[in-house]
Symmetry: C2
DNA sequence: TACATTATTATAATCGTTACAAAATTACAA
DNA sequence: TTGTAATTTTGTAACGATTATAATAATGTA
């Protein structure tokens, strides 16, 4: 609890109640939520929470570099408080988004060697293990 | 010209005039256009072209597997008639989207080894060579 | 030609997101 | 503490990309 406030302060963000709760949600759930998911969930505890506040807060988190945007969906943005470079796998059956690690340093890339790389996003879509099992036992 | 019609037919798509023109645009320009870009450009030649037709056509192309969706932008969808697995680099200065090749086979991925992979999207953002040069000479 | 099927178009509706201004909260000096 | 300025949150309206719907046009076929 205390650590999250300090993390916000150190990042140049005043630790308001809403901001603390939204960041806690991201850090604890680790579910790459949409704005809708965060708002719906926190509304139970904070009945006055505005969706605009969720949007504003996430925008600020991204600007201050403590949250990254995950664009694995066609339409809606997902957010991740894990700002390390890691990959995301979306299961096309259950729609869950999984983290995975990949060797960013040894990516063998051609054609754009001299460009300046600032962000790397690796998205893989397919069927997760759980669904593979479920789909097999069904048939 | 003839080849595009055959390509559509072989993919199970009736080669209407609009579909031929939209696919030609994708294949010739290779610029990962948005719906807006395609519509605006083709409107010069086909003044009656509806934006809905562009949407419908691209949806069909994706369903039939002859076009892939590029989600490198936050808000709008881009399309690519090159359905091979390749990476995309977006320059944060000039907003151009470049193709690049990467070694998909030798990607070193942990944690999700047993999942079924269906699509792999590698997006890198940064500054392209052209802009690097321009930005340097400016200062 | 006559009729059924398919494709295209125009328009309205939807949905995620952003803009804006009012209300609430917080910071701080008198 | 009190008054006032600055910041944060909220509600509502506006926006832009996309989808749904229904009418019109084009195409295929008997
Ligand atoms: Mn993640
Ligand atoms: Mn491409
Ligand atoms: Zn799954
Ligand atoms: Zn550039």
């Amino acid at each position: 609890m205390k650590t999250i406030e300090k993390y916000l302060t150190d990042s140049g963000i005043k630790p308001s109640y809403q901001r603390i709760r939204i960041l806690s949600y991201l850090m604890n759930k680790k579910n790459h939520p949409t704005v809708e998911m965060i708002h719906k969930e926190l509304l139970h505890d904070i009945p006055t929470l505005s969706k605009t506040t969720v949007y504003n807060t996430l925008k600020q988190f991204v600007e201050k570099g403590i949250t990254q945007i995950i664009n694995i969906e066609d339409n809606k943005t997902r957010y991740d408080a894990d700002i390390s470079t890691h990959g995301h796998f979306k299961c096309l059956n259950c729609n869950k988004v999984y983290d995975f690690r990949f060797d960013n340093k040894n990516l063998e890339i051609s054609d754009i060697e001299d460009f300046d790389f600032l962000q790397t996003h690796l998205y893989i879509k397919g069927i997760c293990n759980e669904c593979k099992y479920l789909l097999n036992t069904k048939n």
